[in-house]
């Protein structure tokens, strides 16, 4: 009886998982089909795979630069954001400067603001300072957008690390640097990884600002997808499927590597042990 029930549960879970996975499976399979096979009705499950779509995709020189831009911008922005946020959150958590609560609210309010609402001022600012189409300034913009969330999540984790670690370290002759990086940092690793993954996904998927304040040099994969989709008049399904398949790789790799930390991270540090 219980065996039957367990089998039933697993059956349902598999069914639900497959429903969620179906679009991904469809797009990946499609990337190995010809345009006609993709649009065939009923869908063809048996076909002879072809690499023509990828060949066509990489025949365009621009694509390598766009992938490189995506990787550089997202990893760069997220690393900058996580380092800055960790130090800021440590300061908020430990030294509690005057107005900490207000500053934390201010940070959160940046997050509440929808991106499109600030497009015009940001665009004008970037044009006025001559920052448009620059990797550095676009990277810093993304970092700026990633910092508030990271500070919040990391402050939650750091508050969970007792100050007795800091004090023991200080009294035993450790410097602040030693305490921050050798004593406290290892204990908030799940928070750092969660912040890293969440922001990575955000920047990786970012299209709007890349389009507005980026330029020819900084085009990323979402930009390429957007432009390439309609490039031959109709919907270019072979391009979409091949590009999307490549597009998915980096987040999937990172999530796969760090999945054991993600659950702790997504519960925002509420699952944590002391000492």
């Amino acid at each position: 009886m219980t065996r039957l029930r367990a089998t039933l549960y697993y059956g349902i879970l598999w069914l639900i998982s497959l429903c969620f996975f179906a679009p991904i499976g469809w797009i990946v399979l499609s990337s190995f089909k010809t345009q006609n096979e993709i649009l065939a009705m009923p869908p063809k499950l048996l076909f002879s795979p072809t690499f023509d779509n990828y060949r066509a995709l990489f025949a365009n020189d621009g694509i390598f630069k766009q992938i490189a831009n995506s990787v550089f911008l997202s990893l760069g922005a997220v690393i900058v954001a996580v380092v800055v946020s960790f130090l800021a959150a440590f300061c908020f958590s430990r030294f509690k400067p005057r107005g900490t609560d207000f500053l934390m609210f201010l940070l959160l309010s940046i997050r509440m603001l929808p991106g499109p609402a600030v497009i015009l001022p940001v665009f004008l600012m970037y044009v006025a300072f001559g920052w448009k189409d620059s990797h550095l300034w676009l990277l810093l913009f993304y970092a700026m957008f990633s910092i508030p969330f990271s500070v919040w999540i990391l402050k939650g984790f750091l508050d969970g690390v007792s100050t007795r670690y800091d004090e023991t370290g200080l009294v035993n002759g450790g410097s602040w640097m030693h305490i921050i990086f050798k004593v406290v940092l290892p204990q908030v690793r799940p928070g750092l990884i969660a912040a890293f993954i969440f922001n990575l996904i955000f920047v990786w998927n970012e299209y709007l600002f890349n389009f507005i304040i980026g330029g020819v040099n900084t085009q990323n994969i979402p930009y390429a997808l957007m432009v390439g989709t309609y490039s031959d008049g109709g919907l270019n399904w072979t391009f979409i499927s091949a590009m999307t398949s490549i597009y998915m790789v980096l987040p999937i790799v990172f999530i796969f590597i760090f999945q054991k930390y993600l659950l702790v991270g997504m519960t925002f540090g509420t699952v944590r042990g002391e000492v």
Partner: protein
């Protein structure tokens, strides 16, 4: 030489003065206990010695050097906390070694020698390679003590190190502490709210209340001659009896005194109480010279098989601590006598005579 001088130190948290103008010194090589109830400021005082808190005013000097503004790492003090915090992934000897690694003046050979010495003193040689995660809390705390003394700083601070321990671990730790202090003559300040611990470990005890030091004396002086009624009540189990007394022509009269006590030559104005330790009160079934009658209202077996009884004498309740069982049953009459030599006279809570 590392005499600790606390020069008019005050620490305020908002309106509350956690440490209120304390001015005292701990002698070099001495084990001093800061004893007091929770919230009396003893931990705050210790944290200021360690440099984890800044005094609102006043100075702290170690061996004549002003350290008030020095960060904790530069003060060269060892400290053992309530909760032992170690690197869980390092072994015992690595944990002992680590703080010295950052001190360039200590050579690797000297470090190893000190670690070995500490392991010997603490009797932890077989555990040197064990990982912290595998130790119980008592052993961890022993390692913490070892780490604090291995640096051979001249001052070692202990912040209620036995609070979170079982009875057995506590005794082991106290034993370890004794061995360490006997071998290495460091100036030690030990914070505790446990009077037994303070009496056992300290050369001198500083009794604290409400941010002030009431008395700083050897354990036995503190016990037999408390300078304040609070000291008499806080030390001892149970604490001292306090019985109201009045000033009369013949001296000081009280319900439990058969004869009035001769009044000291200059008795200040104020409310008079007499204090007597429960174990100093004599109790018998028959009236004797200088005894007063009372009714036995409560009895219990106290520490070490001694009997603890409460006797009502003319409206006053007197606790009596005797070696044998009380001579009469509950509700019956007993006769108490209070030796005048053992009586301490308090006026407004301060000792004036006895």
């Amino acid at each position: 030489m590392a005499e600790i001088i606390i020069d008019h130190v005050t620490k305020r948290f908002g309106a509350l003065a956690a440490v209120d103008d304390i001015d005292m010194s701990f002698a070099d090589g001495e084990v001093a206990c800061l004893l007091g109830p929770s919230g009396c400021g003893k931990t705050t005082l210790m944290r200021m010695l360690a440099g984890l808190e800044q005094p609102t005013s006043g100075r702290i000097l170690f061996g004549g050097k002003d350290v008030t503004r020095l960060p904790p790492g530069k003060r060269n003090v060892g400290m053992v906390f309530q909760y032992p915090v170690m690197y869980p992934t390092l072994s015992v000897s690595e944990n002992l070694n680590l703080p010295m690694k950052y001190d360039k003046s200590v050579s690797p050979a000297e470090r190893q020698r000190r670690v070995d010495e500490v392991l010997d003193v603490l009797d932890m040689r077989p555990m040197a390679r064990a990982f912290i995660e595998d130790l119980d809390i008592g052993s961890r705390q022993k390692v913490a003590i070892g780490r604090a003394v291995a640096r051979q700083s001249e001052i070692v601070l202990f912040d209620e190190p036995t609070t979170n321990m079982g009875v057995n671990a506590k005794l082991q730790l106290i034993h370890a502490f004794k061995q360490v202090t006997r071998r290495l003559r460091q100036t030690i300040v030990y914070v505790t709210h446990d009077q037994t611990e303070a009496m056992t470990l300290a050369d001198k005890i500083a009794l604290m209340k409400d941010g002030k030091i009431l008395q700083y004396d050897g354990p036995h002086v503190l016990y037999s001659q408390p300078s304040t009624a609070f000291g008499g009540w806080f030390m001892g189990n149970p604490g001292m009896n306090f019985i109201p007394a009045t000033r009369q022509t013949g001296g000081i009269a009280s319900p439990i005194l058969a004869q009035p006590l001769p009044a000291p030559s200059h008795l200040p104005q104020g409310e008079i109480t007499i204090g007597i330790r429960p174990e100093r009160v004599e109790m018998s079934a028959e009236p004797g010279p200088g005894s007063v009658p009372g009714v036995l209202v409560d009895q219990a077996v106290g520490i070490a098989g001694r009997y603890l009884t409460t006797v009502r004498v003319d409206g006053a309740k007197v606790k009596v601590n005797t070696a044998g069982a009380p001579p009469v049953g509950l509700g019956d009459t007993v006769h108490l006598s209070v030796p005048h030599a053992r009586v301490i006279l308090f006026v407004d809570g301060n000792r004036v005579a006895g």
